[in-house]
Amino acid sequence: MKRRLAIAAFAATAVSFAAIWQPAAATIPAPDPDTYASPLELLLSPDGSRLYVLCQEAAEVRVLNPQTGHEIATIPVGRQPRGFSFSPDATHLFVVNSWDDSVSVIDTRTTKVQATWHAGFEPSSVVEDHAGKALFIADRIGNNITVLDAATGEERQTLEAGRGASYLALTADGSRLYATHVYPSATPHRTPPKSEITVIDPAQAQVIDRLQLPAIAGVFHIAISRDGRLGVAAQLHPKNLVPLAHVEHGWAFVDTLTLFGADVGRTVEVPLDELDRYYAYPFGVAIAPDKSRIYVSHGGSDCITVIDTRKLLAWVHVHPEPFAEDLSASAHYVLARIPVGKNPRGVVLSRDGAKLYVANRLDDTISVIDTRANRVTQTLRLRGPEKVSALRRGEQTFYTAKYSFQGQFGCSNCHIDSTFDGLQWDLEPDGFGRDIVDNRLIEDLRGTEPFKWNGGNPSLAVECGPRTEKYFWRSQTFDDLILADLVLYLRHLPSRPNRFRPADGTLTPAQERGRVLFFRTVDKLGQPIPQRNQCAYCHSGPKGTSQKSFDVGTGKPTDNTAVLDTPQLMSVALTAPYLHDGSAKSLEEIWTLYNPHDQHGRTSDLTKDELNDLIEYLRTR
């Protein structure tokens, strides 16, 4: 009641324009009947009578009867919704819209959006504290946790999280909030990645601890047992320091869980895979109310892993670390692998733990699993196109791991949610440590070919076809039709909104000064800058690439060639590290450390503040 009144008052008086980011009704287009629902996350009402489905592509929350799948209500929200949660009393549902940087506040009784608040940079998960005072929102590209006043939506503070902050879990008593991250923290070049679980005291709204996750890159959902003694996070453990040609020896990814809390006594990593079979892209996690079972969805393997918690903890207590790569371990605690739909993501248990609901994002279904029998007893189909389009087939191909040797990984392992992974890989069988390449963003690829850092692949069909067969999957590859669908999907990946570009197109003074530097043809001494040393010559066109290769002096002794493809600049601010091998940790380092002879643009005449201006401009690209 307090929130409703506050929201009403807030809207009526327009206290703060900044707090109301965009009125929901004004920005949400009419649903496209050809749009797939793409269920990403699930929630059950406390009484179990309603199943809430967060539909990513449809940009809706659909409210279903969990018994029948009957659609009770449809609630339009913002673009690319990525996470949702109830208020403690379940009278409100909060939905974060990752491409609108907003949170939709929904009254669960009326199933209407009451307010839409501005929230962070690419908000991906939201939780309200038990006191009902604050909303905590994980910002994927803000790399922080934004704290909003739960009554007014006004931002109170931001808490420093890790890179790619995305998923949140609150303990049952509300005393601790945990955050995970889909991108790895910065580490020195050619060293193992690491991640963290950020621990927040919601009452103080402060970060109080950071659980270290060595060797981990992408961490997805996290769950806490009802007694608060066991935490479980699903994650990717990449092996990016050795050539990927060793896929047949298990050198690509291990799919693991991080366990922590009083039941474990420490932070420990345990494998989900088997010796000859991998369970790719562990995403959703649920812990049974009695803590007897742990359920994990595998977005790349189209199944649910069921773990016996007692056996798992026994194994952890008996066996010394490290055993994350001991794939024989899972046989001691994995009870079942339950096939579900395509690209299973969010999971939710019924209050009594008897049913597990699974959102199958890429076939628009909800699998209902009988947790006693460990089998799917019902599949709820969501409203949407019956026909599977070529684009949809391409997306299914992108997210599945079935084409790689032993199902180890799919395209989405390295291009998380169709983006990148922040890692540098040793891709080809030319020896250890040769031709290290940084992973690039794959949004809006049309007009950026050729591909590969050496410019060796003229088209996506070549990039994703013969090359993938030879170097990645090491087993079967796509036939022509599957490849055509995959290329179609990749060519249709849009660019995310650029938060640094002013909405009206007018650059800030610093951005404008940087733009002038980017396009300059004369240096500060009045000397003409050779064409190939002008930023805008190589990084030309709307996407910031001339689609040609140059030697800009950044080649390393371990590279087979110093002539490199000019990378596109879209969303360049988000994709650190930089250069072909990821050796530059920041945009600054491209010029402060790796451009001693002005081969990578004439920059040695720039002052520090001018370099800052140049970076401010690049952040608008």
Binding site: Q206, V207, D209, D609, N612
Partner: protein, 371 residues
Amino acid sequence: MKKAAIVGILFAAATTLAAQSSSHSARALHAATSVRSSVSSLPRFRFENFTTANGLPDDHVFCVLVDGEKVWAGTNNGLALYENGQWKTYTTADGLAHRAVLSLALDKRTGDVWAGTMGGLSHISAGRIDTYTQLNSGLSNDVVYGVSIEGDNVWVATAAGAGRLDTRTGEWSLYNERNTPMTEIWAYGVSAAPDKVYFAIWGSGLLELNQKTGVWDKYDDPDGENEMVLLKNQGLIHEIVTSVSYIDSVVWVATYFGDSHYDGRYWHNFLTKDSGLPSNFTNTVRGIDRNRAWFGTDKGLAYYDGTNWAVYRPALDTGKSEMTVRDASGKVTEIPVATAPAHSYVLGIDFQGSDIWVATAKGLSHGIHQP
């Protein structure tokens, strides 16, 4: 003239702004002493000193920062944290930008600490240290003499001008001779509030940035760049400014040749010859409110209550603990005390309720208030 014209506006806004910029702990100390301007009300302390002998990583302590029960000390050999009676030291092996920590600031909203070092700016958040340098970020220079937090902004004073990091957007803005009235770029200190930001510039006076208008103002020594004081209370006491503290809409300024107080209309200067200041060579100043401030000099720790002065130090000749007070008439009285700060060369000051913490060239001192 321009300054005089805007004084009225500034004065009208003073009450609101003061509430935003004041130090809670400083007020607590003030409350614990007295509002009465009498010699007997000057605070007395029992000093407990920390050195390498009892856990500090280095005796040379540049700065100190209090966060509730926690105390951070920036030393010549690492950043030390005093918590639950024990010291923990963060070093470059933990990610600290440099072993010499020159300045500290607390983000009260998040509990994070920012440390200015001889090798960059470090952000300490729940044990994680992220470092900004002139090579990997927009920071203008790796020698960070001063740091101050205001909202989402981290303000820094460096050996090559001042700067601001907007932690929401990651944007760096640099301030130097190219875009401010700064004639020298050796920035020693910064004190930031939502309305104004002040910079202590070594050799270039006091700089003011009005955040609402974006207008810069510069306050210079009217006597020019020499050590003579011909025009007392007509402006800043000297161009070599080492520290600034902005609170309750007044600015307290420390220089190597005396100190100043500016309320937006009037200047009041302090020299050893006509105040209780133990030395004109002042490393740091911390204002408590419009009338009271603490000074860290090369010859002791000094407190000014608006009328009277108190000085705390080991005697310069014998090393014996001493406290002297000077009243409005200039009468100096020695107060018998058993303890004093670890050294007379004072570099940093912070407050913990009614207690004071003092960073000196030979140890860190905890002044426990005595009723």
